[in-house]
């Protein structure tokens, strides 16, 4: 449904997107994952045709972007509807851009996203969550086949985030293809297909399960230990250490296989009086995310 071949984009000579190729099949929820400044927004904007790619080609529904404009909708990262217009006026405006004038359809969209009570409220006065819903509704007015969402739940509370994702699944079961950029692991976990972008390059691809293989042969250990700078420092200095990451009282360590459990155990015990346990665990997306970001930026 969405195909990108060898996309390249430079800004003032600096390469922002470096030879990115993607392929998203119909009905998928595709997550483009990556740290800030990885080029996620540039990629999604090129796919939508609002930034011209320097090299490469984009096809949506087997058509060039400009011919496929009625086939996709786009929700930008920042609220981009008209603050001075009401919810209803905004929706009608965007619908008109696609020559859609079916009031019943538009009203049902408002209903579906619980916007009906705010129909006559100025968009600028809505809370962040409702502004996001309005943006989504405006992008869906023409019933597109593909929906591009640039960080759709950035700054959104978990409850609204869940509601939005429930809806993304519903849209995908209706046959729509969703393309989402994110740096939230929780969000990445919900996608059916993932690509990891770092410094303008795709460094890993797969499902949330298989993408972990991108790390290669690594071991992930977990230990119930409170944060101690000296422990972090000591662990960092071990040969074969990839990542030390603290989550509250949990310490997660990603290492190369050469760095064994016993070495880790020894290092920690030398600094901590009590015997702490270091257990081998399954890598999660967060480990993958940070380790990949680190390894590609080195």
């Amino acid at each position: 449904m969405i195909s990108a071949y060898n996309l390249v984009k430079r800004f003032n000579g600096n390469i922002a997107v470096n030879n990115v190729s993607l392929n998203v099949d119909k009905g998928n929820i595709f997550g483009l994952l990556g740290p800030n400044a990885a080029g996620k927004t540039t990629v999604i904007r090129m796919l939508c045709g609002i930034i011209k790619n320097d090299e490469g080609d984009v096809k949506i529904n087997n058509m060039s972007v400009n011919k496929a404009k009625t086939d996709f909708g786009y929700v930008a990262q920042h609220f981009g509807q008209y603050e001075e217009l009401s919810v209803w006026e905004n929706l009608k405006f965007y619908a008109s851009m696609y020559d859609v004038h079916d009031k019943e359809h538009l009203n049902s969209l408002l209903d579906r996203y619980n916007l009906t009570p705010y129909k006559n409220k100025r968009a600028g006065l809505l809370s962040g969550g409702y502004q996001r819903r309005l943006a989504l509704v405006c992008a869906l007015a023409h019933d597109p086949k593909v929906l591009f969402l640039d960080e759709p739940t950035a700054g959104i509370d978990p409850v609204t985030r869940k509601l939005l994702w429930d809806d993304f699944y519903r849209l995908s079961t209706e046959g729509k293809t969703l393309f989402v950029t994110t740096h939230y692991m929780e969000e990445a976990q919900r996608c059916t297909q993932l690509a990891f972008l770092s410094q303008g390059k795709v460094v890993a691809e797969g499902t949330p399960v298989t993408i972990k293989d991108a790390l290669g042969e690594v071991h992930v250990y977990s230990s119930q230990t409170a944060y101690r700078p000296d422990i972090h420092k000591a662990l960092h200095n071990l040969p074969g250490m990839i990542l030390v990451n603290q989550f509250g009282n949990e310490l997660r360590i990603v290492v190369e296989p050469t760095l064994t459990q016993s070495i880790l155990q020894e290092t920690m015990n030398s600094l901590l009086c009590d015997n702490c346990s270091v257990e081998l665990v399954e890598p999660n997306l967060e480990d993958v995310f940070i380790a990949l970001t680190q390894s590609t930026s080195e």
């Binding site: 045709g49 609002i50 930034i51 786009y74 981009g80 696609y98 405006c138």
Partner: protein, 371 residues
């Protein structure tokens, strides 16, 4: 804390290179331009004459008017011709010498010469009246005293002939009649440029442009859709200001309300499309404002609105001709004060129309469907 704010503001300004450019380049351009252009001495003012006498004396008068470079003389065939030339704007002044001039001069009967000046531009009128005085300089008139060779010098009239000045179109030299029509144009220019000047930049800054660009909307539709509402609003404003002029300052009625409407429409379209073009060039609202001022100030000073075009040196004159307001000022004075015929205003109407077309097409070309 104040120092921190001051420093932050300066840093922000320094990092907007376009703005720095405008702050530095704009005053320099303006200073040079106005230093060269703004003179109150008119030159080569076109003057139509009708000489029925064809004598050496009238030649003396013509030479004296011409030789200082103030007047650029050409001949017409009737007094009506002089008035028509001035009405059409081809001449700003004229003079008429009657057939009996030489005869009366010889008889010491103090013949009259009629000097016509365009009254629509009081500063020019004053200057013209002053410079026409050269026709009665001693050098000219010395040879015009006639006396019998035998008799002793007798006291004759102070001046051999008398110059009557007829002020056309604005006989009372009302400054408001001169300024007000132009002021309407200046106000519309300001409103239009500032109103439209920010319209696209604002969409860019508010990020609504991004959402708009993904839609199938075409460039032409976008530009035309942007122009129409502002043209309508500015047109209403035009008539609002004109109405106030009529009510408060007793501004005369135009020769044709239809032509007035056509003028209003075209002028407003020019200014709105120019504003849109500014909006497409500027990256921030601040830059748009600067660009608008950059256009408004020279428009006021170089259009013949305050300073007569005749006082602007030839080298700067092409700039006056690319200022739409020049043509507006010409037409509206013609319609309200001079009652110029449409045929004589046609070229100015066409010039204004082409500005509107050029600015609109340029906007369509300049507008990119990418961020």
């Amino acid at each position: 804390m104040i120092a921190a704010i001051v420093k932050k503001e300066l840093l922000q300004l320094r990092r907007d290179p376009r703005l720095i450019g405008l702050i530095i380049v704009m005053p320099i351009i303006m200073l040079v331009l106005f230093g060269m252009a703004l003179k109150l001495e008119p030159k080569n003012v076109r003057m139509a004459y009708f000489d029925e006498d064809h004598s050496i004396f009238t030649n003396l008068i013509k030479t004296s008017l011409w030789s200082d470079g103030y007047f650029d003389l050409y001949q017409v065939n009737s007094t009506e011709g002089i008035v028509e030339e001035i009405r059409a704007g081809r001449a700003k002044a004229g003079f008429h010498v009657k057939k009996t001039f030489s005869a009366e001069l010889i008889e010491n009967e103090q013949p009259h010469v009629t000097f016509y000046v365009d009254g629509t531009m009081p500063s020019l009128t004053t200057a013209m009246k002053y410079h026409s005085g050269s026709a009665t300089d001693a050098g000219v008139t010395n040879g015009m005293y006639f006396s019998d060779a035998d008799s002793k010098n007798i006291v004759i009239a102070d001046e051999p002939f008398i110059m009557d000045t007829v002020i056309l179109f604005n006989p009372d030299e009302k400054e408001t009649w001169f300024f007000l029509p132009g002021v309407i144009g200046v106000l519309i220019m300001q409103i239009a440029l500032i109103l439209t000047g920010i319209t696209v930049v604002r969409e860019r800054e508010k990020r609504t442009l991004e959402q708009l660009l993904v839609t199938p909307l075409s460039k032409t539709t976008f530009i035309i859709g942007k122009l129409i509402p502002y043209i309508f609003i500015a047109l209403l404003d035009f008539y609002f200001i004109l109405g106030a002029g009529w009510l408060l300052f007793d501004l005369p009625q135009p020769t044709s309300h239809f032509l007035m409407f056509v003028l209003a429409f075209i002028y407003v379209a020019v200014m709105i499309s120019l504003g849109l073009l500014i909006s497409l060039f500027a990256k921030t609202q601040q830059q748009a404002m600067f660009l608008a001022i950059f256009i408004i100030v020279p428009s006021i000073l170089l259009s013949g609105f305050i300073f007569p075009l005749e006082a602007i040196p030839e080298s700067i004159r092409p700039i006056s001709n690319i200022i739409p307001f020049t043509f507006f000022a010409d037409i509206i004075r013609g319609l309200l004060v001079k009652h110029t015929l449409f045929i004589d205003l046609l070229s100015s109407y066409l010039a204004l129309t082409s500005f509107a077309v050029v600015f609109t097409v340029a906007s369509i070309i300049k507008f990119r469907k990418t961020l």
